[in-house]
């Protein structure tokens, strides 16, 4: 006879209430939506000024190595990356479509902050209308939520698909 499964382990910090849970889900999914809409400057506004953003290959995470594909130690560095895409860097013409899973949410170390891990997939479609799975992984975020308003304090994109097809220009 199967054991009943507890919804939360006794050691979990997460008795995150439904309202906060929903606010986090809205926040994380909005970020992915803005990327897909090519509204990168609005996406940037979701990051706190001192927020960090990086894309870390799963193989480096597993080996305890720090090298990241994108490493922005401030929002300004992320801004520069986006500006570079608009004005300078050449990359493949495509559109993105993110499909996210439900986030795992735990209370952060500071009140009002949450540790959020969200599985994601990103499909790219080229100019001929051919769609391919581009990347899979999870977002490892620290998010501050205040009255339904959110802000990324840090985001690490853990990239399962670390043999990157072609290139990653647009933040994942």
């Amino acid at each position: 006879m199967p054991l009943a499964v507890k919804m939360q382990s006794p050691n979990s910090q997460s008795d995150v209430d439904a309202q906060t849970h929903f606010a986090v889900v809205k926040f994380v999914s909005r970020c992915a939506w803005l990327i897909d809409e090519n509204r990168l400057e609005e996406m940037l506004e979701m990051f706190a000024e001192s927020a960090t953003y990086q894309v870390l290959p799963l193989e480096n995470l597993q080996a305890g190595l720090p090298s990241a594909l994108m490493r922005c130690s401030s929002r300004n560095m992320l801004r520069d990356r986006i500006l570079g895409l608009r004005e300078a860097t050449v990359f493949n013409v495509h559109s993105d479509r993110h499909i996210l899973g439900w986030p795992q949410i735990d209370r952060g170390d500071v009140s009002g902050e949450y540790k959020v891990k969200t599985p994601f997939s990103c499909y790219q479609t080229d100019q001929e209308g051919v769609t391919a799975l581009f990347a899979v992984g999870f977002y490892d975020d620290i998010i501050r939520i205040n009255d339904d308003m959110g802000s990324f304090l840090s985001r690490t994109v853990i990239l399962d698909t670390y043999s990157v097809p072609s290139l990653i220009g647009v933040p994942l």
Binding site: P57, P66, N76, M77, A88, L167
Partner: protein, 419 residues
């Protein structure tokens, strides 16, 4: 084996390269044998990846899975990752530590040098069966590769006839590697870029000094490396490897502005909001800010300010390759220096401001040269004719150098071929 006539080099100086070479499956198969398993050395990895006896890593040399590991005697050994029994993979993990390498299929066990140590049921069970009496384990070792290391960089060869590594590299390239690897290294991580193009489009790109500041607008915009900087381009005596190097802050403003205006390329349009990525600490006492060595056939060794990396080319059929980056620093690096290296790596790798564009343009070439017969690329920047070092940076002579050695190994040299 006769190569079809349309796959020959129409000019003896390799200033015309047939596009079919980037697509033809027969050529690709021949390359695996003549280039990757031929009279060449190939970059495998770094000794700092296998510090302790028993440490191993798998890599790819062309299409072939190869293991390099540290033996009990402290030396590095390498072998093809293929069981001598029925051809299964011996090491199924990417990396690890093992006292012996045991194939899961029939449990044949090999020592760290690739010698066959034990065979299950070699003498049969209760005297029945087993291997024939003339079976000798030492006839069934793994296919061993020659190994040579230089300052902790591991090279392997399938050939017993290849010249010693230092000769293969040439004095100048040896000097560069000794400078890049002048101290024990510390691995910072790996990045992989899977490009839908033929591997030789990448080796061309590495040796193409012409494209740098023209394609890589980010570089030119922030003055990281401009054609007008002091620098040079130098090959080994046989012209297969190449070093491109430059120094920032050495061009004159008026000359720079005019040269780029003539090229229709604008400069200095963007201001970084956070320019900490450009913070550079000179290290090597040679005044260089950029030095990238292209190694024939499968690697590059990069110094871009403080960002240090090896780049290994792994073939994946005629239409794809994986560029495998190993980022490193030195054991002696401070935390601050490590951070500086990690941040500057924003310029390279699959999301690199510079490198992503190489991926894109290579894919463009592969696409545009599909089903292209009897047509050739043009390699004449900096002159045609003899292959020789030039005192100016804007040249792609080293591309012709690559093809001259390629043609020799592939037995495709045109009449009166330059070398």
């Amino acid at each position: 084996m006769q190569i079809q006539s349309e796959l020959s080099f129409p000019k003896s100086d390799y200033s015309r390269v047939p596009y079919e070479l980037y697509h033809d499956p027969e050529i690709y198969r021949r390359e695996q044998k003549q280039i990757f398993q031929g009279r060449t050395w190939l970059y495998a990895g770094l000794e700092s990846e296998i510090p302790k006896p028993g440490d191993y890593r798998t890599t790819f040399i062309g299409d072939t899975s190869v293991v390099f590991n540290r033996g009990r005697d402290g030396k590095v050994y390498a072998f093809v990752n293929r069981c001598s029994h029925k051809g299964a993979l011996v090491c199924r993990n990417k990396a690890g530590n093992a006292k012996m390498h045991t194939c899961i299929y029939h449990r044949w066990s090999f020592d760290l040098q690739g010698n066959l140590a034990t065979v299950a049921f070699q003498k049969g069970i209760e005297g029945k069966g087993g291997m024939p009496p003339e079976f000798s384990r030492k006839d069934h070792n793994l296919q061993k590769l020659q190994v040579a290391t230089l300052n902790g960089v591991v090279f392997v060869s399938f050939s017993d006839g290849v010249e010693p590594l230092k000769e293969y590299l040439g004095e100048f390239i040896v000097g560069h590697l000794e400078r890049v690897f002048r101290e024990p290294t510390k691995i910072l991580g790996y990045q992989r870029q899977r490009v839908k193009g033929n591997w030789k489009l990448y080796t061309d790109n590495l040796r193409d000094n012409y494209h740098g500041p023209l394609l890589h607008e980010f570089q030119r915009t922030f003055g990281v490396s401009r054609s007008t900087h002091d620098g040079g381009s130098k090959m080994d005596p046989r012209h297969r490897h190449h070093l491109t190097y430059s120094t920032e802050g050495t061009d004159r403003a008026e000359v720079t502005k005019q040269s780029f205006a003539e090229a229709g390329a604008s400069l200095d349009r963007l201001n970084l909001a956070d320019s900490s990525m450009l913070d550079f600490r000179p290290e090597a006492n040679d005044g260089l800010t950029l030095a990238i060595c292209s190694f024939f056939p499968n690697a590059a060794f990069q110094r871009m300010r403080n960002s240090l990396a090896t780049r290994q080319v792994r073939t994946r059929g005629p239409n794809e390759f994986e560029l495998f980056w190993t980022f490193f620093g030195y054991e002696s690096d401070s935390a601050e220096m490590t951070e500086r290296r990690l941040k500057q790596a924003n310029m390279v790798g699959p999301s690199g401001y510079v490198s992503m564009e190489d991926g894109e343009v290579i894919e463009n070439v592969q696409l545009a040269t599909e089903a292209t017969y009897g047509r050739y690329s043009v390699i004449e920047v900096g002159g045609n004719g003899p292959i020789e070092d030039k005192p100016f940076r804007v040249n792609d002579v080293a591309i012709r150098g690559f093809w001259s050695y390629y043609a020799e190994l592939m037995e495709m040299e045109p009449p009166n071929a330059v070398r």
